[in-house]
Symmetry: C2
Subunit: 337 residues, 2 copies
């Protein structure tokens, strides 16, 4: 018997996930039905969105069932196959789970990847994966910045935000990043080329809005929002007319238990005739190849810096996931299985 170690959900988190919400177990690796593929997961992508899948609430994916391994996008190799489109040893990326072996079924998301042309297969979980494509399509198609526009990015040192800032700069925009702490703000300027960095820590909405306004003297044309709460409220106070807010995530709200902070400055949408648009990268599925090709070229040309934070071993799943909410990851959070 081949063992399958799994990181499972055993209790739905109330607020910030606790160690006891999860368990590590070991079961027999599943056998395959006709058409199925057994993926040996090598790397799992840890994303804030996973927090949403742990709740039993209406969302774009069914919630993780209790006792089941936690969903994640993984990169791995085909360990066994009853599907002619995949050969043993093929590198693949897909929506699987945090476990050694996942069964992929026809119709789900599983794609062969070319590991020869990239520096590391992990790039399919960062710059060439959902994170990179979220940054690319969210900024270009939802934010729609013109050259010369001012783009404000929250969670600017995060996996998505750090790419958004760099892409906006490539497009000829002025970029202002918001992050927590002096060290992250240093990285915004030095590593990701932001024109200005704003540290949100210890500031209320008005004070934060003043800092943003100082960093964006022409006003803000596009917000790429990852954080929500006070950070979004402050950004809303700095909008130009007809501004667009590309709403990617609300990480500050995901673990709230006593009610979320909420957005109190929506009236600014009225007076500035501005728009907030939520989006999911899956909307752009038919254009993934196009996005990945452009991002690939920018990486090859040295115009796009890609930081990955890789933790080693399935027993690191919980602490590595929590780093996303503590803000202590430096780059795209990835778990090596």
């Amino acid at each position: 018997m081949i063992a399958n170690r799994r990181f499972t959900l055993v209790r739905r988190p109330h607020g910030l996930p606790q160690p006891a919400d999860f368990a590590l177990d070991e079961v027999a690796a599943p056998s395959l039905a006709e058409g199925e593929i057994l993926v040996g997961n090598v790397y799992a992508s840890l994303d804030p969105a996973i927090r949403g899948w742990l709740d039993d609430l209406p969302s774009y994916l069914p919630p993780v069932a209790l006792g089941s391994p936690v969903h994640a996008t993984t990169v791995g190799r085909v360990a066994a196959t009853r599907n002619a489109a995949f050969a043993e040893g093929d590198w693949v990326v897909g929506l699987n789970a945090i476990e050694d072996f996942s069964v992929a079924r026809p119709g789900g998301f599983l794609m062969k990847i070319d590991t020869d042309t990239v520096a590391s297969p992990t790039h399919y979980l960062s710059v060439l994966g959902a994170v990179g494509l979220t940054a690319y399509f969210g900024l270009i198609e939802i934010g729609r910045p013109q050259p010369g526009a001012t783009v404000l990015v929250s969670g600017a040192a995060g996996a998505v935000g750090s790419l958004v800032g760099q892409i906006a700069r490539i497009l000829g925009c002025r970029t202002v990043g918001i992050a927590g702490g002096a060290e992250k703000c240093r990285r915004l300027i030095e590593d990701y080329g932001y024109d200005a960095a704003v540290d949100y820590r210890g500031l209320d909405t008005q004070a934060l809005a003043s800092r943003i306004a100082a960093a964006a003297p022409q006003g803000v044309d596009v917000i790429f929002e990852n954080v929500g709460g006070t950070v979004l409220d402050a950004g809303l106070l700095c909008l130009n007319e007809h501004a667009r807010v590309a709403l990617c995530g609300l990480i500050s709200e995901y673990n709230s238990t006593d009610g979320m902070t909420g957005a109190r400055n929506l009236w600014q949408l009225v007076v500035k005739t501005a728009t907030i648009s939520g989006f999911l990268v899956k909307e752009f599925l038919p254009r993934f190849a196009e996005g990945a090709q452009v991002m690939s070229r920018w990486v090859a040309e040295g115009r796009l810096r890609v930081d990955e934070h890789i933790e080693d071993g399935i027993h690191q799943a919980y602490p590595a996931f929590m780093r996303l909410f503590e803000g202590t990851n430096q780059g795209k959070m990835i778990l090596k299985l």
Copy 2:
């Protein structure tokens, strides 16, 4: 000397406007410079938006100055003119103030109106004015409902909301209206033809969302939002994919002092790839004639019911204005001067 009675702002309101925030005074009617027009105001439009103009905050109009009459759209007749485009006795509509006589300057908003083709000149403050055009363009251009779509309207018995529901029905949509109290809900069905009415009173977000979901079994494709707070949050929980929220106003938030309620369910915009767009009717200025023509025809055909609530006398300005926040007006609130 001709007397000019004025309803002036003497103190900026903190929260709900108080009687002592305003004063009635009497000054000499102004004299005219070359190009100017003296408008004898007959009717003034009382709108929730006026609340925003009383604050000293960045908005789309300069705030009302202390000691000055409160801005309002008025319908009146030209009392004197030094502008060849206007003759004494002409009926006009324009952005003036709550006073007997206002001076209109070239470049501002003043327009001659045809009172022969309408049942009452007050229609230029309701169905053919900013209120009617806000309903028309906000629904059609921002909400963009398809025939058969479900349109949810908050403040559904109000001046704008009652028109939105009727227009949506003319367009072939299913209409669900939210209002406060059984009597208003009765009017939604009987007077404005809503398919379903939901009374928000006494319900928390989840309970209100359940009622909306029951009234909109196919989900909500378009929200026309006038209220904000809990009402918006409940609506957000009922959205279909790619839904649009046309954000017209947030009347529940305008008088808050201890922080607004805010919108806590913005994450629904992400999972439903939905959009909130703020708008101002002035964006559609070049198309006002088109909108008024269509609305006029619907009124003439008996397809659009227009309710106006007219209070008599400038001394009624304060209580009539407050009715908007108490929700005790039955139709477009208008003050006869």
